[in-house]
């Protein structure tokens, strides 16, 4: 692929990435939805997050044991309502230590 073709390709990739991000925010301006759909949209964050976390997390470090250990550490830290930054570092350090010990 020539450089010009690559630039064109990247531009098209950018357009198809941008459209789904932009359309609802610009078009659904202040839309008043029926009760059921308001509930539906209010649950999207939780459902989306859950599916983003699991099962993807267990393949995230290239080693299932270190990923699960890091995940458990952050789960415990999050359960005690520690700041997100601490939860993130706890998970990374947990995964790193497990990797070192295996």
């Amino acid at each position: 692929m020539s450089r010009e073709e690559m630039v064109l390709l990247v531009i098209f990739m950018a357009i198809v990435t941008y459209i789904p991000r932009m359309l609802p925010i610009v078009l659904f301006k202040d839309a008043k939805l029926p009760h059921f759909w308001r509930a539906f949209f209010s649950y999207i964050p939780y459902a989306a997050l859950a599916s983003l976390i699991f099962p993807g997390i267990i393949y995230s470090t290239g080693n299932i044991y270190s990923a699960v250990f890091g995940g458990i550490v952050s789960l415990i830290l999050a359960y005690y309502r520690l700041n997100v930054i601490i939860v993130v570092f706890g998970g990374i350090i947990g995964a790193y230590l497990a990797q070192m010990l295996i």
Partner: protein
């Protein structure tokens, strides 16, 4: 006085983007390293992070370019991978405080990613200010591009174990955002369990093997939210 409160909103977005930035840096570095190792010209990888700003699409994109996939297929794959953001933007659109111009909103929407969406949508305030979203989304954008830059130009010096351990950072950030919400509400807990069940089934049950990760997230989100609104919404607590 008015000016001051505006700055505060931007600053709050920047502050809330710190955990995202911690996660984006190593993944941006990994992207830069990978693109370089696959022989993608550095200005192409930089352009990708600047105008696409979507991790999964960029990784898949450089892989597909390297193995000689047709441009049409690459664009189609990118589109499918990012359709999930349609759901996320729709959900955000219900909470955005529409006080700014459409131009400003279309600029902010460029920065909607899984991570900025997660942070914004789990804020407790009912209405999300555009200034906050701008600070949040563009700080994350900056971290992603800075990471790409580091990956391309001074990568290999970072130890492999540290790089791979940091692969977990965005996932544990999601845990850090989700668990407090789960503790507050048994409805949320139920929806999370339903979603985990669906995404696990779609990932591991052999008949669903043909479904890609992007679609697994879309299907899981729609089905679990629908079940939530239909069967879980009315029952007790909160």
């Amino acid at each position: 006085m008015k000016q001051l409160s505006f700055n505060k909103l931007y600053f709050e977005g920047i502050k809330d983007a710190i955990p995202i930035s911690i996660g984006y840096l190593p993944i941006g570095i990994a992207f830069g390293v990978l693109a370089k190792s696959m022989g993608i010209p550095y200005e192409i990888s930089i352009l990708m992070s600047l105008i696409i700003f979507a991790g999964a699409s960029q990784f898949v994109g450089v892989n597909l370019i390297a193995i000689g996939t047709s441009s049409f297929e690459i664009v189609l794959t990118t589109f499918i991978l990012n359709l999930r953001h349609f759901l996320m933007s729709s959900s955000l659109s219900q909470r955005i405080d529409y006080t700014k111009s459409k131009k400003f909103l279309s600029l902010i929407s460029f920065g909607v990613t899984d991570e900025t969406f997660a942070v914004a949508s789990l804020k407790e305030e009912l209405k999300l200010s555009p200034e906050f979203l701008f600070g949040l989304n563009f700080t994350a954008f900056f971290a992603w591009n800075f990471g790409t830059f580091l990956g391309i130009f001074l990568a290999e010096s970072i130890p492999k174990e540290i790089q791979s351990s940091m692969g977990i950072s965005l996932y544990v950030m999601f845990i850090g955002l989700l668990i407090p919400a789960v503790r507050r509400s048994t409805k949320v807990l139920k929806i999370v369990l339903v979603a985990i069940f669906i995404s696990s089934a779609l990932t591991w049950v052999p008949v669903f093997k043909f479904i890609s990760t992007g679609w697994i997230i879309i299907i899981t989100t729609i089905v679990a939210s629908f079940i939530g609104a239909k069967f879980i919404h009315g029952d007790g607590d909160e």
